[in-house]
């Protein structure tokens, strides 16, 4: 019932879900290349299973090879479809290949896929695999905003990328005591008023990633940000700015933007 309640939209590489509560979140779609590699791996696994069974059958039907051929032919055919359908159906949308490549099949509504959906999308491989090497399915996926091959379109499923994400770490660059910008209350207030959330976060993010940036890139980035702030948003007096490095300038500015302290009139 939820698939009728939640709206769907998409950009080039995301599935956007709007839940019944009005929360909006995006899931990154898997590209054709990673799906193709995952599928190759799955094919290797299926071939392994089929050949294993083949050996077993060959052994146990040694007296009656005709029946052996029958068993192998049918088993091979059934396993080709059932491998994907059963694994995806019972293992929350993942085959072994998909798990190794961090892919997962989900319902279009952002929910886990159901067993019937897993069967439908795997039976439709008969069409998607045509004429060779999944050309039909690949063309379908590339022409679809949700990267769906025909099987996915019919079953109402899609494949998302799913890598484990850790919460971004905390920095301690903001723990400084003295902020010279606080001595210029009117300019500081201007800065607060003019800065957009994007700009503020950009500064904060640039500072937080200080150690991830190469020295040259960091210097250039900080110089540009400081120049932009100084010329476009809030020109602090030159005698103050001259003595500050660009980095210190940004630290001070973000101190103004995010601190609870009111800028105070300089004493004396």
């Amino acid at each position: 019932m939820t698939d009728t309640q939640s709206a769907r939209a998409s950009t080039a590489a995301d599935l956007t879900i709007i839940t019944p509560e009005g929360v909006l979140f995006r899931l990154p779609l898997a590209g054709p290349a990673s799906r193709f590699y995952a599928m190759l791996l799955d094919i290797v696994i299926v071939l392994g299973i089929v050949n294993g069974i083949g050996l077993l059958v060959y052994w146990s039907f040694a007296k009656v090879p005709g029946y052996g051929v029958m068993v192998i032919t049918l088993a091979e055919f059934a396993i080709g479809f059932a491998y994907g359908a059963l694994l995806e159906g019972f293992w929350n949308g993942q085959t072994i290949g998909k798990r190794l490549f961090n892919l997962r099949v989900i319902d279009q509504a952002g929910l886990p896929l159901r067993i019937e959906q897993a069967w439908v999308r795997n039976l439709m491989r008969i069409l998607d695999a045509l004429p060779l090497a999944y050309l039909v399915g690949g063309a379908s996926a590339l022409s679809s905003p949700l990267m769906q091959r025909f099987g996915d379109r019919v079953a109402g499923t899609l494949v998302v990328r799913q890598t484990a994400l850790a919460a971004p770490g905390e920095g301690n660059w903001a723990r400084q005591k003295y902020n010279s910008f606080m001595e210029y209350p009117s300019i500081a207030v201007n800065l607060r008023r003019a800065a957009t959330p994007e700009l503020a976060s950009l500064i904060q993010e640039a500072l937080r990633r200080r150690n991830e940036l190469a020295p040259y890139a960091r210097r250039e980035l900080y110089r540009e940000l400081a120049k932009y702030l100084q010329s476009e948003v809030s020109p602090f007096p030159d005698e103050l700015v001259e003595r500050l490095s660009d980095e210190q300038y940004l630290i001070n500015a973000s101190g103004i933007l995010f601190s609870d302290q009111r800028p105070v009139r300089a004493q004396g």
Binding site: I17, T73, P112, V120, E170
Partner: protein
């Protein structure tokens, strides 16, 4: 409002961690059922984290944090809104045997698509038959294999028992498996081609019809009608209907995709398609067995009259099965007295 990410993260991190560990527990649980306390906790954490996500999306530019929260919210959303089937439901044989009654029910519910499939096939038959009847040269174009073009030779071979030595039960078993696989592949393709708005399905059925019509007329014209019936019908009475049902599934799928916007219960509709495909696959298993073990034996061994009688008996049984088994279709029209 500009969000102080550092302070915000410090405040909110405990609840994110809580949500993460709760989700970890739930996802590792095989049936993914919640008890009341867990459900309440999950709901609360989901609401809080969703609100956090909203604040990060609109109050800051923090792509990594936003991605992290989106992933967390997505996982919680899936846990809250998805009711997985119970294990006990899946492993009940009774549910699996339901397919035997569900198949005829679905077949009858979607009978109009079956009618379309018959129509297209008959058109093909007529074209193939007429072409061979009035232009014998068409045989060379329409019929690919040599044995289909020159029935006399083939009938002679078959009745002389040439190749009889390879007709051991073993070879027939291998042959039947090959037939089953090939037929199911073709039928499945016909059912899947519904995504081409049914055009692919129609072409496949039509071509099949042309071939059937051409072969039938070609053999009958040369006086081998009875041989052909005895040769093809014992498996054909299952094989041809199952291809028609594949066409039915294909047309049904086409109609479903064309009206997807109006259709509120896509999942239920897809089940119908699956049931039709599963049913025709079962029919093709029987057809493959008959074709390999029964159809290939000819007159001295098996009289033609007997083979045709078997075929008719099969057809009657199949028709009874498809028309009578399972629940009767309830009329969608509301009875007058209840209005």
């Amino acid at each position: 409002m500009i969000l102080n990410l550092e302070r915000f993260q410090a405040q909110a991190r405990p609840r994110w961690n809580n949500l993460e560990s709760l989700l970890g527990v739930l996802e590792s649980r095989p049936d993914r059922r919640l008890n009341l306390a867990e459900a309440q906790q999950l709901m609360e954490l989901y609401a809080q984290t969703s609100a956090d996500l909203n604040r990060v999306t609109h109050g800051a530019l923090a792509p990594e944090l936003r991605q992290y929260l989106e992933r967390l919210v997505a996982r919680a959303y899936a846990e809250l809104y998805y009711a997985p089937p119970k294990r006990s439901d899946i492993w009940q044989p009774r549910r699996w045997f339901r397919i035997f009654t569900a198949f005829p029910e679905s077949f009858r519910r979607q009978s109009r698509y079956f009618a379309i499939a018959i129509l297209v096939t008959l058109l093909g038959c007529a074209l193939g038959g007429l072409a061979v009847r009035y232009d014998p040269a068409a045989v060379d174009v329409l019929l690919p294999a040599d044995y289909l073009r020159n029935p006399g030779e083939r009938v002679h071979q078959e009745e002389q028992g040439q190749g009889e030595h390879i007709k051991t039960a073993q070879n027939e078993a291998a042959f039947s498996a090959e037939l089953i696989r090939h037929n199911i592949q073709v039928a499945l393709l016909a059912a899947a081609l519904g995504v081409t708005f049914g055009i692919g399905t129609a072409l496949l059925l039509f071509e099949n019809g042309v071939l059937l019509g051409a072969v039938a007329v070609n053999y009958t014209r040369k006086g081998f009608g009875l041989f052909l019936s005895a040769w093809l019908l014992p498996h054909g009475v299952f094989e041809i209907p199952s291809i028609l049902i594949a066409g039915q599934a294909g047309f049904y799928l086409a109609r479903l995709l064309l009206h997807r916007r109006e259709n509120r219960n896509v999942r239920e509709s897809m089940r119908e398609w699956l049931i039709l495909v599963a049913g025709l696959a079962m029919m093709l298993v029987w057809a493959g067995i008959m074709e390999a073990f029964f159809s290939q034996h000819h007159a001295p061994v098996l009289p033609y009259g007997f083979k045709v009688a078997v075929a008719i008996a099969e057809l009657v049984l199949l028709a009874l099965y498809l028309l009578l088994i399972g629940k009767r279709e309830t009329s969608p029209v509301v009875p007058a007295e209840s209005r």
